[in-house]
Symmetry: C2
Subunit: 324 residues, 2 copies
């Protein structure tokens, strides 16, 4: 990573840190960035998608829905990064009860465990793409109305509200990052995690890309290193008025635009097919990131094309592992 100023505060360096969901896309990247930079690092997750990526990091195997494992995970910990998501925006609407149960109930168990273990701070990754629903203002600031059109966005929002409640009632500090659409190394191309990983993988393998709708849907894609940078900054942030920050790239791109970028990167035309549009897809999302810039001293560093190239390199190297 190439930082203009180091995001590691003394507070975070002196902390014992737990990452929940450490085996996943964001978790793996965060753990690699924290390794050797904090007092102690513990990684918790169901499984490691890329075990060698977490070499040398304390690993605690467990399911987020198991309160007894959570209690063990948070013991002797100062800062908890909560990166667990049990669903996707599209899947969440199919069984809204399961979505609520898996995401919110488990988080309440976590917060109870944090209270019992005197955890100082919880950092949570929320969803910049779904908590606002159909955006009434673009770029969308943090104070905009939050009326999700996917159950996924509701459960993220509810967790934000409970974090606020536990801070108020029980003094557990927190920070929330409403992240737009992250992409980069260690993102699965197969689990509906992100369109860029899926597009790159298919394009490399010569499989036609599947585009939902007419391809004009615009999203705010952000390279993973910039997300990790923000996570590290909020982890060491002093207590202030603002605890919820949008994290996006500052610009939006259409699916068609991404296909063109992929073609340019690979130097060959890419086959794509238009499919039906989905009700969870809002026409355009773009986050207003001025609050994070001002309060975290953070700004996205990695240009889209640079991030795309790095992601492409990583996918090419790891194609066997990602299922190609």
């Amino acid at each position: 990573m190439d930082y203009s100023s180091s995001p590691y505060s003394q507070t975070l360096s002196d902390s014992r840190v737990l990452v929940l969901g450490a085996g996943g896309f964001i978790g793996t990247n965060l753990c690699r960035a924290l390794q050797g930079r904090v007092k102690r690092l513990r990684a918790f997750g169901r499984r490691q998608a890329y075990p060698e990526a977490l070499n040398g990091i304390e690993w605690l195997q467990g399911d987020f829905s198991d309160p007894s494992r959570l209690a063990i995970a948070v013991s002797d910990v100062d800062v908890v990064y909560h990166l667990v998501t049990a669903s996707t925006p599209a899947s969440s609407n199919v069984d809204k009860l399961a979505d609520l149960h898996q995401n919110v109930f488990s988080t309440l168990h976590l917060l109870e465990a944090c209270k019992a273990a005197s955890v100082r701070k919880v950092v949570f990754i929320s969803s910049g793409g779904t908590v606002y629903g159909l955006p009434r203002v673009l770029p969308t600031p943090e104070w905009a109305p939050t009326d999700p059109i996917a159950a996924y966005g509701i459960t993220k929002l509810v967790v934000e509200k409970y974090l606020h409640l536990y801070q108020y009632l029980h003094g557990i500090d927190y920070a929330v990052l409403r992240v737009s659409n992250p992409f980069g190394p260690f993102q699965s191309a197969e689990k509906n995690q992100g369109v860029i990983a899926a597009f790159l993988r298919n394009a490399i393998l010569g499989i036609p890309l599947e585009i939902w709708g007419d391809g004009r849907v615009e999203r705010d894609y952000i390279y993973i290193d910039d997300v990790v940078d923000a996570l590290i900054r909020v982890g060491g942030l002093g207590t202030g008025e603002e605890r919820i920050f949008n994290i996006g790239s500052g610009s939006s791109r259409s699916l068609i635009g991404i296909v063109e970028s992929v073609e340019q990167l690979l130097g060959k035309p890419v086959d794509s097919r238009l499919g039906p549009s989905r009700p969870v897809d809002v026409p355009r999302t773009l986050l207003d990131i001025s609050l994070a810039k001002e309060k975290l001293g953070w700004t996205p560093q990695v240009q889209f094309e640079v991030g795309l190239t790095r992601t492409c390199d990583w996918i090419t190297e790891n194609l066997i592992q990602v299922g190609g």
Copy 2:
């Protein structure tokens, strides 16, 4: 009730209506107002606190947490009034998981049942006193930030979000009333439902009133007939942009002020004791009700002292039943 204009629209008069939580304070009052005014009325609840008050109304006994009973309740129904609350602001913080389960899970089961039964509209009573948390603007409008400091307020807010989702995904219309502190006949003086019922009952019986904190906490008290008026208006409201309305009296009063009003009404001094303040108590709540005035043609009709007198008369008549 004394209305400036009738709140009963043709749409509501032609509807088959279900009231959930019909045996409680607001439900009993609403059912009595709807009786004979709608195409069909069905009352659903666990128990009737005042059975004679619901004479002649179709009664379906059931627990809100039982999905099979809910499915029966919503069959052949156009409009559902959802008035069920399984907790109080203070109790909700003690077991946040139970609060979430009882209030939100059951409501999701209800919404699934409404979808299956093609219910046209759901009207929900939310909490004007808790969804905003510590109010950053007074009087508080609907667009103000919603950061509850009681789990009770979170679950009310979550239900609002799911109503929006079901409207968007499945076309079930909805309306939400964020009601301040209602009081009036059929409110229990014993279940922490409302301070006015408790004060009046104790004052009549000569039991000292218990005041949380220093008595300067201010709340926005609204007489039940005005709440019922608003419920009837939103039940027959056409589809518009606004679906969430604050319902309050337009002014706030301190606990000490209420004690003085009670003394004046009874014509005798009343003994009171100050107790510890509670973390869920914000210093002052007062709702901005201009949206309801504009869009519903609604305005509070009953002066506080008039409502207090009517409530006092009712409690005196029913003292044996309320446990005196």
